[in-house]
Subunit: 169 residues, 2 copies
């Protein structure tokens, strides 16, 4: 494995040198951390998520709860499994967050009559109303990003992220 990597690295290096040694850089063993895709994603995610978190704090709601409300706000029920997938949480974590939201009367559980292993989650009226306020806050954050970063870049970045996610599955 190490050997194949070394070979492909020097291949790229050679090819690149014949063109330009500035534009595309060869994959090197000691690529700085901040040139790794995984790191850049983590950094960008951390920053944008922190901004969103601060906005949503006006309503005292964590980002995960906003995601849950948003998914359920179309009125259709979702099983815990579907919901976990949609909001990027694993099952036990979702269960516990949902417990809190049920206590706050934002969502409720219904046993699925078609398959009694499943629990269908629904958004309460109260949850829907809160969700609208949260949507405003989230939209205003995204507008703020677009202001500084530009509409074109934002759309291009979204497009690239979508296709990265596709290609990773």
């Amino acid at each position: 494995m190490h050997i194949e990597r070394a070979i492909s690295a020097s291949h790229s290096l050679t090819r690149v040198k014949t063109k330009s040694s500035i534009v595309a850089k060869p994959p090197s063993q000691d690529t700085p951390l901040n040139e790794h895709l995984a790191y850049l994603l983590a950094q960008a995610n951390r920053e944008i998520n922190r901004q969103l978190e601060m906005r949503l704090a006006k309503e005292g709601v964590p980002v995960e709860q906003w995601r849950i409300l948003k998914v359920l706000s179309d009125g259709n029920g979702r099983s815990m499994g579907e919901l976990a997938e949609a909001v990027l949480l694993n099952h036990p974590t979702l269960t516990k967050i949902v417990d809190r939201m049920v206590s706050d009367a934002l969502v409720y559980r219904v046993q699925d009559p078609k398959d009694r292993r499943k629990v269908l989650m629904f958004c309460s009226e109260r949850g829907k109303i809160l969700c609208q306020r949260l949507n405003s806050l989230a939209m205003s954050q995204e507008a703020h990003i677009v202001e500084n970063y530009g509409n074109k870049s934002t759309n291009e970045l979204k497009r690239l992220l979508e296709s990265l996610i596709d290609s990773a599955n």
Copy 2:
């Protein structure tokens, strides 16, 4: 705040309609979750991070520890504050991860002689050797992404992420 947003939203809507109603979509109050930049970043980060985690698991090392080793592997010491910034962790979390790494003899602490409030972190020889093996694993993951996603997209995405991060500061 809500009002201003509503106004700027309808502005965009109007402007967009005169051009094309397909390419650029107006910011709508119920934009689906998976069209939000914050969500796409979280999703992409989750997926890529999970892949990297699986690779590094061959050496039994969490992603955060790889980052720490990578930053320190140039032999220069860093204060806990600098290190926390560089590896995207807050101070108490870093302190505790570093505690574990000191137990494993991967890094060590030295009191900064210039400013005795500070602690300088260094990478041990053992840490450097491990870091090289981890670098190979990380490079092979990135190569795998490039295979599926393409060199052009990868570089373009990195560029956009860097400039997003810049614009957010």
